[in-house]
């Protein structure tokens, strides 16, 4: 099974719309939403079964047992993350700021601190004729890289027989979740938009893929909002030797489709035709072999 990851660098370029369309065109039987901070793919891919759910635990976090606490303040003094605050007479751990290092537990003279398991997210898997793996990180949390890995693992472990292609909707940015989603994929398509912000972010995400030794391909969404910048992006790709797989016009139908909870592939429009071409240009670079 080959894995195609859709990334964007900058948010809002149309990653999920493209991912959803690709799933429809390819009829991929395995797909995943790795944007665990703000998952959206499930709003396009309506499911007819109830999902299997699993709690996701992050690093253990510190909790102060108030009965044993001597209020010496040593923990607050040494915490590098400003996670222990004095509220009135009581010392308390801010579980959002706590990074789970355990230093406070080690140095507490009365052993009043314990490191406790902490649910930071929720994994969901919809399994019918195909498998859809997704997750939601609880807000304010970190730990997103491992949750992304779990989403991918869940998809791989439950893929139906004869699945040749998996499509993965990635997350914006260049941090932990993106790095985790890039691991082990066969190809990445970066969906960018023609704006100076988009170009700047494209460069950063391309550098990130290079660092992880994954070859990127690029396509431009909403290209006609700024033809000059679209041309600049094409030139950039040529200069850097990056595969360019096409352009999609701005199309009002996209928002209508999204709001109907449907893929753009269900609507006859320019965007649909353009996405088909981008898909064909992208997919021919992945060898879809027989399932191993």
């Amino acid at each position: 099974m080959k894995q195609l990851l859709i990334l964007s660098g900058k948010g809002g370029t149309g990653k999920t719309t493209v991912a959803g369309a690709f799933i429809k065109i390819s009829q991929a039987k395995a797909y995943a939403d790795c944007d665990v901070d703000a998952p959206n793919l499930h709003l396009l891919m309506s499911q007819h079964v109830n999902p299997e759910q699993k709690d996701f635990y992050g690093l253990d976090k510190a909790i102060i047992n108030q009965e044993s606490c001597a209020a010496c303040g040593l923990c607050a003094q040494y915490c590098r993350f400003d996670a222990i605050q004095k509220n009135g007479k009581v010392y308390q751990v801010d579980s959002f700021a706590c990074e789970g290092c355990g230093l406070c537990d080690e140095i507490c003279p009365v052993k009043a601190i314990s490191m406790t398991p902490c649910i930071v997210g929720n994994l969901k898997m919809y399994k019918a004729k195909d498998v859809f793996s997704t997750a939601q990180l609880k807000m304010g949390n970190g730990n997103s890289g491992l949750l992304v890995s779990e989403v991918k693992k869940q998809m791989k472990n439950n893929k139906p027989e004869n699945t040749h292609l998996a499509v993965i909707d990635g997350s914006p940015g260049i941090g932990c979740p993106v790095i985790a989603s890039l691991s082990g994929v066969d190809m990445v398509l970066i969906v960018t938009e023609p704006s100076l912000s988009g170009m700047s972010d494209l460069d950063r995400i391309v550098k990130t893929t290079h660092k992880l030794q994954v070859k990127p391909a690029v396509c431009i969404n909403k290209y006609d909002t700024n033809q000059q910048i679209s041309n600049k992006i094409k030139d950039y790709c040529e200069k850097e030797g990056i595969l360019f797989t096409g352009m999609i016009p701005y199309d009002n139908m996209v928002i209508k489709a999204v709001n109907q909870g449907r893929s753009i592939m269900d609507y006859e429009c320019e965007a649909r035709e353009a996405i088909k071409k981008v898909y064909q240009n992208t997919i021919k670079h992945i060898e879809l072999t027989e399932e191993k």
Binding site: G12, E106, G175
Partner: protein
Amino acid sequence: MRIAVLSGKGGTGKTLVSVNLARLAGNSHYIDCDIEEPNGHLFFKPALTQKEEIKVKMPVVDHTKCNGCRKCIDKCRFNAMAYIYNKVLIFEEVCHSCGACSLLCPEKAISESDKVIGEIQHGTSDMVKVSSGFLNIGESSGIPVIRQLLKQKTGTNDVIIDCPPGSACSVMESIQDADFCLLVAEPSIFGAHNLNMVYELVKLFNKKHAVVLNKTMEGENPSEEFCQTHLIPILSRIPYSQEIAKQNSDAEIIIDTNPQYRELFAQLLENIKKELAI
């Protein structure tokens, strides 16, 4: 006023709103906390006045003092150390700079040195002070950069904080000391879904908040419906315009050349003041 602009979903217009609001306010400080993909500086093109490196502390082992007890490796919850052939190996990208190893080493063999993970650039653009945070490629946590950005005190009347997208820890950090949170939402189900997430976040931190509806068009607006259901004030509606989209894509500050938008943002600022006065 310290106003944080956030959105949940990327690409809704956080930067459009924060840049134009800062410009309109005049004597203001624009802070770009979207340290993975900072963009505000592209609009302001600030004259750079200062660069500041952001460092975190990394452990360093003095092997003349190390006796191989491996307490550091056993206690490190991030698995950032290994012990091979009587030497401690340190993996900086996995290290959280918690300081536990150096504090707990019985032989006092571990000290700390600085590692650069990013930088902050300060500059000015007319009356606006611009501070942008940049996280180095490959670094996973930008929290130290955001913390340093928010410590800046420039004495301006208004501070506009351009937050990262989403609702994860970096966003939470960005809104810590904001007086007001402005949530930007686009008229799609995605937009409404993600608006819900940041709405929960600002409620959790008891932040005064309101919404700006961006790229509005005819037809249903799921984000507007969300606001109506939850009684969230809508302080402005910015209609979708191809012309504005193009100007924004060229990193132009739209109020500079469009009087009707200048008026719109002036009204938005007024509305925020009214909300804060309540």
